[in-house]
């Protein structure tokens, strides 16, 4: 299959506007890395990105690669056709990342039957490239998070 043919088969997605502030997050997938802004002073993970650590008010913050593992904090099976070429049903989830209690991502669960999704299920990141971004999606993980 050509790249163009593969692209035509992908579901429609609204893409994020990449800026200096969020580029690490949306392009880390090119290297297979889930990158989250991290405080150099105290190690706190800052998401969405901000130029200050909310815990210690440190200004030295830089992206770090995380494990990409987490658990399903909650989810929904979307059944409503919001966009042409994005066909329901699909699973939208909020995944809690293992590195920090209050660090979550809204995402899609893939490689899983919607009926089999459970809160607490361990998951791991997979990246789906679209134009200039790599969307972090999650699939069930064999390893406990």
């Amino acid at each position: 299959m050509t790249d163009a043919a593969a692209a035509a088969l992908r579901p429609f997605r609204v893409l994020p506007r990449v800026t200096a502030a969020n580029e690490h997050f949306w392009t880390g997938g090119a290297d297979g890395e889930l990158r989250i802004l991290t405080c150099r002073g105290c190690g706190y993970r800052i998401h969405p990105p901000a130029p200050v650590c909310p815990r210690c008010l440190g200004r030295e913050v830089a992206p770090e690669a995380l494990s990409g593992r987490g658990v399903v904090h909650t989810f929904t099976v979307n059944c409503q056709p919001w966009y042409p070429h994005l066909d329901p049903p699909y699973v939208v989830a909020i995944v809690a990342l293992e590195e920090q209690d209050d660090l979550r991502l809204t995402t899609n669960l893939v490689d899983v039957d919607p009926d089999d999704v459970r809160i607490g299920m361990p998951v791991e990141v997979v990246f789906e490239p679209y134009d200039d971004v790599w969307l972090p999606l999650f699939r069930p993980s064999a390893r406990p998070a």
């Binding site: 609204v14 994020p16 969405p48 059944c79 409503q80 042409p84 209050d102």
Partner: protein, 397 residues
């Protein structure tokens, strides 16, 4: 309780509403003027008395029908002479605009503030359904701000975000769809008594359980009904109340707090979000308690939000909303806590919080006709918002 709850210097002196319906195809400013003039007349005032204007969310083009009428349009159309005005989106929910007005009145910036909210989403959607107002559907649009974290994942709607809150509540507390259904069934029963409600045909539990899902666990009947309509309320300085045709609805306390993160997915407790904080603040500002409330008008943009408000306001314990509404008797018009007595937004139409406030006032004035709560209610709570946006008002006769 706070040393002094200055919102008590403000009262609601009148309310008004335009025609309400599914696709009216009427100019939203015309609907707004209808509501505003009705409210001014109801309060026994003239336009010359109005020196303040407040609205939510202010004028904005997107999504279609969400607004379209801001402070400026009403100000100019009615040639008002204003000492104070405010309209905007970054507020603690829709009723934040009424709290703003109360604050302006309490601080002497205005005497009579006309507050309004107009929606015309049903007409804006036309026959294309809600997909027509989904943000980012095509073209070169790219998401920024909060939407960048949800739109790429096909989750453009509050239906998805609230569904995930509900799913978490189901998981932690064992809440069921049959329980949640009672919010929708109660709304439909009450709508049957409200001639202005958009959906009045009887609904059964079987109807609810068999209708199509929108975003699990929320089905179509868990989502409010887009409507066209405008609602207005007049917030007046309490010391002007003696000159009005009817006794004022007093603002006993307000709650506007957001003590967690301002985010749909990062908020610490997804089973409550901001309604927890707004409700807590309300009770910090009064000696009244949940047991004193005679009628509750609690936001039902989605049925689950009403459940969250019931818990947050202390009508039942945290996580006990499901058992509380089970069977529907407690929340019925003739029950101990009549809820969403005009059919709410689920069956009455999505008037975005203001319809619920309007109904709370009408009930306290005893002007609710066929749906009047028996026994002359004296204390009402009106609450609007969900997710990270919430405000509530405790009202008394």
């Amino acid at each position: 309780m706070s040393p002094e709850s200055l919102e008590r210097r403000a009262v609601i002196s009148g309310v008004g509403q335009s025609q309400v319906g599914r696709r009216l195809y009427r100019d939203p400013l015309a609907l707004t003027i209808d509501a505003c003039l009705a409210a001014v007349d109801h309060a026994g005032l003239t336009l010359a008395d109005i020196d303040g204007l407040s609205t939510y969310p202010g004028n904005m083009d997107q999504p279609p029908g969400f607004s379209g009428v801001g402070v400026t349009e009403v100000h100019d159309a009615l040639r008002l002479e204003l000492d104070w005005f405010a309209g905007g989106l970054e507020l603690p929910g829709q009723l934040g605009s009424v709290v703003n007005a109360a604050a302006a009145v309490a601080t002497g910036l205005a005497t009579h503030v006309l507050c309004f909210r107009t929606v015309w989403e049903a007409s804006a959607q036309g026959d294309a359904g809600r997909a027509s107002v989904t943000p980012g559907g095509g073209g070169t649009y790219k998401a920024s701000g909060f939407l960048q974290w949800t739109l790429p994942f096909g989750a453009p709607s509050a239906a998805n975000w609230i569904a995930m809150m509900a799913q978490r509540h189901f998981h932690e507390f064992g809440t069921t769809r049959e329980q949640l259904a009672q919010i929708a069934l109660n709304a439909r029963r009450n709508a049957a008594r409200n001639p202005n409600a958009v959906y009045r045909d009887p609904m059964t539990l079987e109807d609810y359980l068999s209708v199509r899902m929108i975003s699990t666990p929320l089905c179509l009947y868990d989502c409010d009904a887009p409507a066209d309509g405008s609602t207005a309320v007049i917030v007046s300085r309490a010391d002007t109340a003696a000159d009005r045709p009817r006794p004022p609805v007093r603002i006993e306390a307000v709650g506007t707090a957001l003590r967690g993160r301002p985010s749909w997915d990062q908020f610490d407790d997804l089973t409550t979000m901001a309604v927890r904080d707004a409700a807590a603040m309300l009770w910090e500002r009064t000696e009244l308690s949940a047991a004193d409330v005679d009628v509750a008008e609690l936001y039902d943009g989605f049925s689950f939000i009403t459940l969250a408000w019931l818990e947050a306001l202390g009508f039942c314990g945290k996580g006990e909303g499901g058992p509380f509404v089970e069977g529907g008797d407690r929340i019925a018009l003739d029950g101990p806590l009549p809820l969403n007595t005009n059919g709410g937004q689920l069956s009455g139409g999505r008037l975005h919080g203001y319809g619920l406030l309007h109904e709370a006032c009408v009930q306290l004035w005893g002007e609710a006709g066929d749906r009047q709560v028996p026994g002359q209610p004296e204390v009402a709570v009106a609450a609007a918002g969900g997710g990270p946006l919430a405000a509530c008002l405790l009202l008394t006769t």
